[in-house]
Symmetry: C2
Subunit: 332 residues, 2 copies
């Protein structure tokens, strides 16, 4: 059902406060990430993360988020088990700071044991600060390598963000042919998954989500070697480079990891000129001829931006009845 | 036929000297790029570029390669029409220099009007210097955007390179379902192209390479929106960010463009530790179970590395008779 964003935010704050695990000053940052997801049509990355078997607000950190290494262009961060959206939010602010003074800022993030949500949130934040963004995160093993059947790479999303004269251009994709949440949802609904997105423990294509989750693996998004290569690149950036675990190896517990980069376009062209060119590029693409009269030419983020504008104008967002009901139960 | 690499190099040098357009000191750099391609099984990016209707050595630059903007972390380069492999070679050396002092080096390259060849060459060079590489180049319009039928994005290759304890891990892919050269070759051979890689001017799938080259477009590698998104990201990095043309727009003539980044892994982890982890990751992947007994699990660059090792050990490389014959004719 539709709910007013401010009411949803109040409800979420109360649900988080209930556990007492997260400092009041940090709650707003986490909700920024989750509400952005719901407002941009990414409901699987939104307040749903405050529900289910491992709600985000039940996470107990072992220490404060710590900068373990720092240079004028970079920061390595150990989140010490803090909720991933909080740590990635912190990392994003750091790379924007670095970028303002050095023209570039890069963060490697380890010590997280949960999903940081929509990569688009961080890419959008960096692009709205005027910079080019690259965000890549690794997660527990899910994707099989090319020719293989073991779930070695995470679903490994990667996102880019570019400032334009208007809204940033955000490209945010999972490396996998189906998301992990897609499996969970199909299982919960008792429904099959598409017949070409995942394999069982014998390496055979399967439509049974349970067979994938129990010893099987997801295929890369293109079902081929380029997609598997991209998943492996993200595994290296968000894993070994960031100082996090990789391929199910236990480095510091089985942490997740992330790589976040912000780049000042003014290092090359004039920064304003870049925005103009990016906007012109988008215009050329959107005004180009469609393949047939029943399709439209689209660019990354079109759908999300449409959701976002609607949420901003109506002040409302669509949340499933089950999620709302669970949140309301939590705060009773 | 097989030819000794040193004989091929001599032949290529003589072919280049024949036109008198390229300074002797620069010839070795260009041949480094081209011979790397032939030695790694990328024959479409090798000495073939010294043959055909627009041989590289006939390019006449308008000026010296010029650094137009520089900071401790970046360099913008106008190649003033010099051969693209020479300009990209120069840019690669610059980002490695910057990386050694600043931990990161980025180059934006414009004013090139030819292909810089195998992205893997530059990624490999950076990775062998001990750094992580990202190389992305845009070229004249070839790929249609998602839902569209106009050739707006180049075939737009993107490559990553990672140092390991042994040979670097190199991932190098075109954003397109078929390369431009693939179309040229099919046309020359009078053969059809696969039935799901390109469209004609009406937006219909076609197997006729001429129909693609004359008003049609190539599809992104996954035939879908993620691949089109990656092509667009490369268009932005190698185009507006680098200060080059984009989507067939005439910015400074219709130049190509490139983005090259080198990153010191020591900014985060210890650099040696990164190499160890990357090597372990590769080992885990290659030792993992195959989907079936008739396939092997592979990682990006496996095939190229096999070719490269063989070329190094035999001192020979495979070049088509037609190419060799054309080069020999050139130096008569």
């Amino acid at each position: 059902m539709k709910i007013e964003i401010k009411d949803l935010k109040d409800l979420a704050i109360r649900a988080i406060l209930k556990t007492g695990n997260i400092k009041e000053a940090d709650i707003g940052k986490i909700l920024d990430v989750l509400l952005f997801a719901d407002m941009t049509g990414r409901s699987t990355q939104g307040v749903i993360k405050l529900t289910g078997s491992e709600p985000l607000q039940t996470i107990v950190a072992t220490d404060e988020i710590e900068i373990t290494k720092e240079t004028p262009v970079s920061v390595q961060i150990n989140a010490h088990g803090n909720p991933a959206p909080l740590a990635a939010h912190f990392a994003t602010e750091k790379v924007i700071e670095k970028c303002k003074t050095s023209g570039i800022g890069i963060a490697g993030l380890n010590g997280i044991y949960s999903s940081n949500g929509a990569q688009a949130y961080y890419a959008d934040k960096i692009a709205r600060a005027g910079f080019v963004a690259l965000v890549a995160s690794r997660s527990p093993g899910a994707i099989a390598p090319y020719g293989g059947k073991e779930p070695l790479f995470g679903t490994n999303p990667i996102a880019f963000g570019f400032p334009t004269l208007k809204n940033p251009l955000i490209f945010d994709m999972a490396s996998s042919a189906i998301t992990w949440y897609g499996l969970i949802k199909a299982k919960a609904d008792g429904k099959p998954i598409p017949n070409d997105v995942a394999i069982d423990k014998n390496g055979e294509l399967t439509t049974d989500p349970t067979a994938v989750m129990e010893g099987g693996a997801i295929l890369p998004f293109d079902r081929s070697y380029k997609g598997a290569g991209i998943a492996m690149v993200v595994e290296l950036l968000g894993g070994p480079l960031a100082g996090a675990t990789f391929c199910n190896v236990d480095v510091q517990g089985k942490d997740w990891g992330a790589f976040i980069l912000a780049l000042d376009t003014g290092l090359f062209n004039d920064a304003e000129k870049f925005k103009e060119s990016a906007s012109e590029l988008i215009k050329i693409v959107k005004n180009s001829k469609p393949r047939s009269s029943d399709v439209i030419v689209s660019i990354p983020g079109d759908r999300s931006l449409k959701f976002y504008k609607e949420a901003l104008s109506t002040g409302e967002v669509e949340i499933s009845d089950a999620i709302l009901s669970e949140l309301r139960d939590q705060v009773k």
